[in-house]
C-alpha cells in the first residue's frame, strides 16, 4: 500500500508541539540518548523519557476541533528487529489546558527489542466532540501530530548496522574453500527483505589476518578492510542493478530493507545518475569499476 500523501482531515501544525531531547537511564542516571548502545543486553529494561510542550488552543484551532473534543499525547515505540510496537505514558488534553508541559516516559523490556528502537511522540483524537466540522477528524485514535524524524537508538552496537559473523569455513560445509576470507550472503532477487534479517557477511574465523581486520580494525589492516568494503559495495550495487524492480521503482522499497539501503548508497556515490544509466554502465566492467573505486575512494584512507 503506498504511503499516505495527504491526510483527509485537518492536522496540527508541527510547531504547536515541542519535544525536548530524549533521555535514557544509563547506570542509574538520566543521560541524553546516544545514537547506539554498544553493550546492549536484551535482559535489561530501557527507561526513556522526554518532555513535551503543547499549545493546546493552537492545536484545537488547526484541527478545527470543538471545545468539547479531547486529545491524547503519548509516547510510542517500535523495534524493526522484532517488529513489535508499544506505548509509554500518555497525557489527555482539553482546550482549557492552555499551554501544557508534560513528561512522557516508557519502560521497555529489552527482550522485546532487536537491532534498533524508534521512539516518537504523537497526538491523537480521543473524543471528537458533538459537532465536528466537515474536515475535522472524527475517529478516536486519529493522528493529529506525529514527531518526525523519530528518535532512533541503534542496539547491538556498530555490528547492528551490517551483520557480520565469524564462522569456521571448514566446519560442516562443502560449498566454501577452507581458506577463503569472507563471503556475503544475500538475495539480490528480493530486495524487500530487511537488511538486518537477510544480509550477512560471514568472515572465516580460521583466517587470522581477515579476522583481525574485521574485529580489531587496526591501522595495519587498512588494506584488508578496504578490500572487503569495496567487495561488499560492488557486490550489492551490481546485484541490485540486475533487479528490474529496483531499477524501475527504487522508491518502492520500505525503510530498512536491502533495496532502500542500496538506493541510499547509490544516492551517496552516484548522486543524480539515473539507475537505468548506471545499469548500462555496469554492463561494461572496465568502465564502471574504476568509477566505483573512485566514488568509494578505495584505499585513499579518507
Amino acid at each position: 500500500m503506498p504511503p499516505v500523501q495527504q491526510l483527509p482531515y485537518f492536522t496540527s501544525h508541527l510547531e504547536r508541539v515541542t519535544v525536548d531531547s530524549w533521555q535514557l537511564q544509563l547506570g542509574g542516571t538520566l543521560e541524553p540518548m546516544p545514537a547506539f548502545l554498544p553493550n546492549w543486553d536484551p535482559g535489561v529494561t530501557l527507561s526513556t523519557s522526554t518532555s513535551i510542550t503543547a499549545d493546546v488552543p493552537g492545536i484545537f484551532e488547526d484541527c478545527a476541533l470543538g471545545p468539547d473534543a479531547r486529545l491524547r499525547a503519548g509516547l510510542r515505540w517500535y523495534s524493526p528487529g522484532t517488529g513489535l510496537r508499544g506505548t509509554g505514558s500518555h497525557v489527555d488534553l482539553a482546550l482549557t489546558d492552555g499551554t501544557l508541559t508534560s513528561l512522557l516516559s516508557a519502560e521497555i523490556e529489552g527482550t522485546q527489542l532487536a537491532s534498533s528502537l524508534e521512539l516518537a511522540v504523537c497526538l491523537i483524537l480521543l473524543q471528537p466532540g458533538l459537532n465536528p466540522g466537515p474536515f475535522t477528524a472524527r475517529r478516536p485514535g486519529t493522528l493529529l501530530y506525529l514527531q518526525e524524524p523519530r528518535q532512533r537508538l541503534l542496539l547491538e552496537g556498530e555490528g547492528g548496522r551490517f551483520p557480520v559473523e565469524l564462522i569456521d569455513f571448514s566446519i560442516g560445509r562443502t560449498v566454501l574453500p577452507d581458506n577463503a576470507g569472507w563471503v556475503l550472503v544475500w538475495d539480490p532477487e528480493d530486495l524487500h527483505q530487511p537488511v538486518l534479517g537477510s544480509v550477512r557477511l560471514y568472515v572465516n574465523s580460521r583466517h587470522e589476518r581477515v579476522k583481525q581486520a574485521v574485529t580489531l580494525g587496526l591501522p595495519e589492516d587498512f588494506g584488508i578492510s578496504e578490500a572487503i568494503r569495496y567487495d561488499l559495495a560492488r557486490t550489492l550495487i551490481l546485484g541490485a542493478l540486475q533487479n528490474d524492480e529496483f531499477v524501475n521503482r527504487p522508491e518502492a522499497f520500505a525503510e530498512d530493507t536491502v533495496g532502500a539501503a542500496i538506493h541510499a548508497m547509490l544516492h551517496v556515490y552516484f548522486d543524480g545518475v539515473p539507475l537505468h544509466d548506471l545499469r548500462s554502465n555496469a554492463e561494461q566492467p572496465s568502465s564502471f569499476e574504476p568509477k566505483l573505486q573512485a566514488a568509494l575512494k578505495v584505499f585513499w584512507g579518507e
Partner: protein, 268 residues
C-alpha cells in the same frame, strides 16, 4: 528464565536445506544428528539450552506430528491442526523471548538440524517442486514468516491472550488464510492488542451474520475487513486507545464490510 538456542549460520543452513529438500521424510528422520558443532549462541539474554532439552523438544514436536499423520502425508485439516498445536507448544516450551526469536539463525537450527524431517513432512511440495527452501531457512520476501517453525512461534506470540481460559484459542479458530491476512502485514502485526481485538471481533461478527442467514463468505469478509483496517493504520494510533475503543472501531469496520458485501449482488 529465558533460553538461548543454537544459531546456525545461513550459509550452512542454505547448504543443508538444499540437501534436505531432495530427501524423503524417512531418509531425513534416520539421519538426524542435532550437532552443536559450529553453531553459536547469543552472548546474553538467557541460559544456553542443553542438548537433552533439544532432544526433548524434538520428541514433543514429533509426537504432535505423529498424531497428525507423520510420516504419512498430512491432510489439509491435519496440517492446520498441527500448526495450531505446534505453535502453542513452541511458544510455551521453548522459553524464547522476542529478541532471540527475531534471529532467523535460531529457526534455521530447528528446521535444518533438529527437525528437518518434520519440515519435509509438513511442506512436502510436489514431485516437480519439492519443499521450498524458504521453509527451512525463511529468507524469502517475507523472511521469518516463511520458516516452518519461526512462523508458528510468532503466530502464537502475537495471538497469545494471557488470562483467557485458552490463551492460544484464536490459533485454532482462525483459518490459515485468515492468519496470513492478519500477520503478514507488518503494520498490523506489530500491534498485538489490535490484532487480538480485531480477530475476536471478526469471528464473532461472522458467527452472528451466519446465524442470521447472512451469505457473506468468510474469506471475503476477512479480506475486505483487513483492507479497510489497513487503510486506517497510517493515520491511526490504535495502541494509544483503550482496548474497549479498539474493539468498537474493529466492530464498526467489520459491520461496514458486511453492509457493503450484502448490497453487492451475489453471482449465480
Amino acid at each position: 528464565m529465558f533460553s538461548l538456542y543454537p544459531r546456525l549460520d545461513l550459509l550452512r543452513a542454505h547448504h543443508l536445506a538444499r540437501d534436505h529438500a531432495s530427501k524423503s521424510v524417512i531418509e531425513l528422520a534416520t539421519q538426524i544428528s542435532p550437532s552443536l558443532e559450529g553453531v553459536v549462541f547469543a552472548p546474553t539474554g538467557g541460559n544456553r539450552i542443553e542438548r537433552a532439552e533439544l532432544e526433548a523438544l524434538r520428541n514433543t514436536v514429533l509426537a504432535r506430528a505423529s498424531s497428525a499423520g507423520y510420516p504419512g502425508a498430512p491432510s489439509e485439516t491435519g496440517a492446520a491442526g498441527f500448526d495450531a498445536e505446534c505453535a502453542a507448544l513452541l511458544h510455551t516450551t521453548m522459553r524464547l523471548h522476542p529478541s532471540e526469536a527475531s534471529h532467523i539463525e535460531v529457526w534455521a537450527f530447528l528446521t535444518c538440524q533438529l527437525l528437518p524431517d518434520v519440515v519435509r513432512w509438513r511442506f512436502p511440495g510436489t514431485a516437480e517442486a519439492p519443499a521450498a527452501l524458504e521453509r527451512y531457512v525463511g529468507t524469502s520476501r517475507r523472511g521469518l514468516w516463511r520458516n516452518a517453525f519461526g512462523r508458528l512461534w510468532w503466530r502464537a506470540h502475537r495471538f497469545h491472550t494471557p488470562g483467557r481460559p485458552d490463551p492460544y484459542g484464536l490459533l485454532a479458530l482462525l483459518t490459515e488464510d485468515e492468519i496470513v491476512q492478519l500477520t503478514e502485514r507488518p503494520s498490523l502485526a506489530a500491534d498485538a492488542g489490535l490484532l487480538v481485538q480485531f480477530s475476536g471481533t471478526f469471528l464473532a461478527a461472522y458467527e452472528r451474520n451466519t446465524a442470521a442467514g447472512g451469505r457473506v463468505a468468510r474469506r471475503e469478509l476477512i479480506r475486505e475487513s483487513v483492507k479497510r483496517l489497513r487503510r486506517l493504520l497510517p493515520m491511526t494510533a490504535f495502541d494509544l486507545l483503550d482496548q474497549q475503543v479498539v474493539g468498537s472501531i474493529s466492530a464498526s469496520l467489520i459491520d461496514d464490510t458486511l453492509r457493503t458485501a450484502t448490497k453487492t449482488p451475489v453471482a449465480v
